[in-house]
Amino acid sequence: MFELGPALHHAFELLRGFAVSHGMSRDAALLLSKIIQANILVLGVAVIPMVLVYAERKVSAFMQARLGPMHVGPWGILQTFADGVKLMLKEDVVPAGADKWVHFLAPVVAVAPVFVCFAPVPFGQGLTPVDLDTGVLFIFAVSGVSTIGILLGGWGSGNKFSMLGGLRAAAQLLSYEIPRVLSVIPVLMWYGSMSLGTIALAQHGRWLGILPKWFIFYPVIGQIAFLIFLISSVAETNRTPFDIPEAESELVAGFHTEFSGLKFALFFLAEYAYVFLASAMGTALFLGGGDGFLLPNGILPSWIWFLLKTFALVFLFLWFRWTYPRLRIDRLMQFCWKFLMPWSFVNIALTGLLVLVRQR
């Protein structure tokens, strides 16, 4: 019904026409509309973590027989907004022994990649900000940069323990990036393209009328790929049961303990934005993007379906955090190198076989 994609497209056409008619060159108008689109995306990515923080506090509350934030706004909806304002007003403490520039740069390098990563994500029909041909690879590449932010955070805090904490967190991110990339390769092999838009589109349609042709329902390879992707995404976003930075703060200070005020808010925003990014990628790659099920097509627009499925995956992330204790650091590394990686290789081989069979 009210698909947002074409409507927005049409709006920008009108805008460009209006600008050109008022003496603006075609290029300038095009650039202007691109800038406006980018701003909408950045605003969206800045708002989503606030929704996620609220969701996390409410979900954890109900899991623990309590109510969660209730005072600020009806059912505590404005609580995260209030937290944001509080963090902005907090004094930004830079430790004496710290390296001022690196302390300033760390949150920037940790947060900036997140905004860029959302470009190729297909929010719905026609709602892909930039349908890059190498979408998946682009996201993995740019999200790798934020690991450097964590290292800078560890170094910029000036104390030996937070540096150790930063190193351990970076080691975890590096090692879990590999199974995450490997787990997505079967999807790319099967659909022959790296653009998230085309992959999501290719998953529309039904098997025998009822089972949607999502990659997760492909016999063995779908489930293995999805599970490895989910597990390594939880590890990539430093969330329980892989939250080494928090565990480190028990013994060795975590890398972001020396940051306060807005800088801490940026690290916080990065974590939740990555959770949303991982869920969005999971939806696009494994759950068929904007493709609805059960209800006949067209009742709900595709971007609503996309958001529903993404929030379902986000709920999984939240659920893990409040039920599982923390893995010890060496078990965590062992799990990655000795369990996730071999299985992702097996999965790639299996998919290769299936692709061969399909070509016959």
Partner: protein, 167 residues
């Protein structure tokens, strides 16, 4: 992207690239030069994308910035003591160095001007990952496998050297 806009972006990127590259060499603090190396390589990736090699740009960021430079930062953070971080970057043979740089510079400039005049800038920017993939696993299969063998040998070597004596 009309020619005037893309050339503007190109010159901006190149200028930033030169600044960060010089920064890598001249910055007194080793950590700062590592960070400016990160910036330099990211800008190189930007240039690749500008030239239409989107796969190469993404791979550059993934491999260099996401992998190699993080290891470099690891090494710097683990090994360096704060005091000997601030070493003087330049030494007294800088005259010989300058002369050598000039000759290399002149020959490079002549080479570029020759190439630029030869190849007309092609028009549309087509996605390259498919053709690159076919090339790598088609004609170039043998060198591709050879390179992976060399990398494997390097990996095993690093682990052996990294092994602590008593382990």
């Amino acid at each position: 992207m009309s020619p005037s806009l893309s050339s503007l972006v190109f010159y901006a990127f190149s200028a930033m690239l030169v600044v960060t590259a010089v920064g890598v060499v001249t910055l007194r603090n080793v950590f700062y030069s590592a960070v400016s190396l990160v910036a330099a390589l990211t800008i190189v990736a930007g240039l690749f994308v500008l030239l239409g090699a989107d796969f190469l740009g993404a791979a550059q960021v993934l491999v260099y910035v996401g992998g190699i430079l993080i290891i470099m930062l690891f090494v710097i953070m683990l090994s360096q003591q704060p005091r000997d971080l601030l070493q003087r970057q330049t030494n007294d043979q800088w005259i010989a160095g300058l002369f050598f740089a000039l000759t290399i510079g002149v020959s490079l400039v002549r080479a570029f001007t020759y190439f630029v005049s030869q190849t007309p800038p092609d028009g549309d920017i087509a996605p390259t990952s498919a053709s690159l993939g076919r090339l790598l696993l088609g004609e170039m299969l043998l060198p591709f496998e050879a390179v992976s063998l060399i990398l494997l040998a390097a990996l095993v070597g690093a682990v052996v050297f990294g092994q602590e004596k008593n382990a």
